[in-house]
Symmetry: C2
Subunit: 357 residues, 2 copies
């Protein structure tokens, strides 16, 4: 029997080898000086480039005799960046990187360049919350939809301890996972809570896409399905002073629709580089005539964020002027950077420190 | 102000258009007769093929004048299958399909062909459990590692209601998410619990990979870190009659190592197409001389599963002979099919119906 076993060990190794997989390649490798090596295997490609949000323009990779393409790019500002490979005409995720951008339109990989000191989104040795993946029935949309819920460190269901809630919405082609996978919302919350800069809170990350385009339906789903689901399943505070909404891009537009059309329900409305060229926004705000005194009393914080290189920057400036013209108190935070998840993480870190205080 | 707003709507539409994204394409489209259309956009590729575990060999796609490649494959047996596109020399996931195989070595997409009647892994109108994403400190491995925990429908923390636990391990280059993303473990459990064919239980899905290859370290991590973490954070039953371990491929080998080396801790050991050509398996079993009466009393169910087309089938038959030669009661379930996640779902559904009864 021992012979049989050892024989089978050799045989299995041969069989696994016969699966004819490409070589195991490490990519990306982030070096201590913050330079990054990328690698890709192809014997037949004629050109491979790296494209990334840390690069001004795509960088060509060089092939060695074993068919491994590689390049090392100079040191990059520590952060988390999306990138992809252009293999001949094909724009693709790095096949050797498990860390993938959660998005419905494109496939990109993510590279995490740690800071010499931990960044606000870094995995640190602090107590960790957890992220729960739910399915809920949306009566509004007539379907079962996904929903992520972050609960803070030490959370356990206890009807006597109730938490405030932030509803946090992703961008237009993103998914319910983009705020955690790319935005590291859970780690930002863990770190800020550990530093006592943020209140322990529950963060609900719904799936905001309604085909074919952002429609009023998601606002109804939020008010009629998502909030009741959360309030039935989690020990949350249900007054408006303990309810916030925030979102990025298309989700930033949804945040304005949901928050301002329901100002009695949300004391905190934070909109990150909102995309507002939607039918719903036009419907809600074209003839909007709010009672500013009432809204300003209901809404404790109404903040718009944008980067100066964001393609929506001019639009966001107009949004701010528009709300000011309605005498709504609007705080604006304008920072360097583009329409990126590097900026989103900053916006969220700023928001979390202002909520529920 | 209204003029400004409307002007900005037009401007934004133009700006979004200027982002120059590829056209929105629907792929895959599963038709009522179970045929499937695949689409891919490239003006410059010279050849695009579909590869899939439902196809005997890759199928070429045809390009139309707008640069959209497509093909419709004949009806496929309802199930969930991995597939990829070969674009010239590049093997890639379908860029228009968000549903991605969770794996560290390759990027494949997933297509779900629903049955005319719901399948055991189908999303059905039954109460749903949730999946919680944790980070835990592994003292064994000296790092923070991910861990997924399925809790059944109606679960909430209640120290007076305790649950049995299944520890469920993925395959060699898979991740802690493969059992849910590809294996639909949560939906299989939801459905079997709703049908009263499975007991309500907690299912723990750890990250089983330890670089550079499957090492005894993961067994120590399981016994010294993962099980204590779960027992500290969830209301679980801690006797061996309420603890099970199962896994696929490399995880099936880990299941044998963990289960049989700790038979006093696991009354249920279910191994799916185990890969056992590892140093750890050799170390544990080469000179193994168990007390069969004791092991057979400790382990209520010891089951090996394999498909007749699985490349490990001959090896699994030898594993079965080996355990039989040691007078260990081993149940074997041999079914059609290969080393696939289509088979894994069947194996898990069989296991869940036998646990904790």
């Amino acid at each position: 029997m021992r012979y049989l076993l050892l024989h089978s060990v050799v045989l299995l190794s041969m069989q696994l080898g016969a699966q004819n997989r490409p070589p195991a390649i490490s990519s990306p490798d982030v070096h201590p000086d913050h330079s990054i090596s990328f690698r890709y295997y192809s014997r037949t490609a004629s050109r491979v480039l790296v494209k990334g949000e840390f690069l001004k323009s795509p960088v060509p990779m060089t092939k060695d005799t074993s068919g491994i393409w590689s390049v090392t790019v100079p040191p990059v500002q520590p952060d988390i960046y999306p990138y992809s490979f252009m293999v001949d005409s094909v724009d693709m995720a790095d096949p050797n990187n498990t860390y993938v951008f959660a998005n419905e339109r494109f496939k990109r990989s993510i590279v995490n360049i740690p800071g010499d000191q931990p960044l606000i989104h870094s995995l640190q040795e602090v107590p960790h919350g957890k992220i729960s993946y739910h399915l809920y029935e949306s009566s509004t949309l007539g379907t079962t939809r996904p929903l992520l819920v972050y609960t803070p460190p030490g959370y356990s269901y206890d009807a006597n301890k109730k938490y405030p809630v932030l509803y946090l919405i992703h961008g237009g082609s993103d998914t319910e996972e983009t705020w955690t996978r790319v935005g590291q919302a859970h780690l930002i919350a863990d770190n800020l809570i550990a530093q006592k800069k943020a209140m322990p809170m529950i963060i609900v990350m719904p799936y905001g896409n309604v085909r074919p385009k952002p429609m009023a339906d998601f606002s109804r789903d939020m008010m009629q399905d998502i909030i009741p689901f959360v309030e039935n399943n989690y020990p949350v505070l249900t007054d408006s002073r303990n309810r916030a909404v925030a979102g990025f891009s298309v989700g930033g537009g949804q945040t304005l629709n949901i928050g301002l059309m329901n100002a009695s329900h949300f004391s905190y409305i934070c909109s990150y580089a909102p995309y507002t060229a939607t039918d719903e926004f036009k419907m809600n705000f074209t003839n909007w005539s709010p009672d500013p005194a009432l809204v300003n009393q209901q809404v404790k914080l109404f903040e718009l964020y944008c980067g100066t290189e964001d393609f929506l920057y001019e639009s966001v400036k107009k949004n701010i002027l528009f709300f000011e013209s309605k005498k709504i108190n609007v705080k604006s935070t304008i920072v360097p950077g583009g329409h990126t998840w590097m900026n989103c993480k900053q916006y969220l870190a700023s928001t979390l420190q202002q909520l529920f205080k």
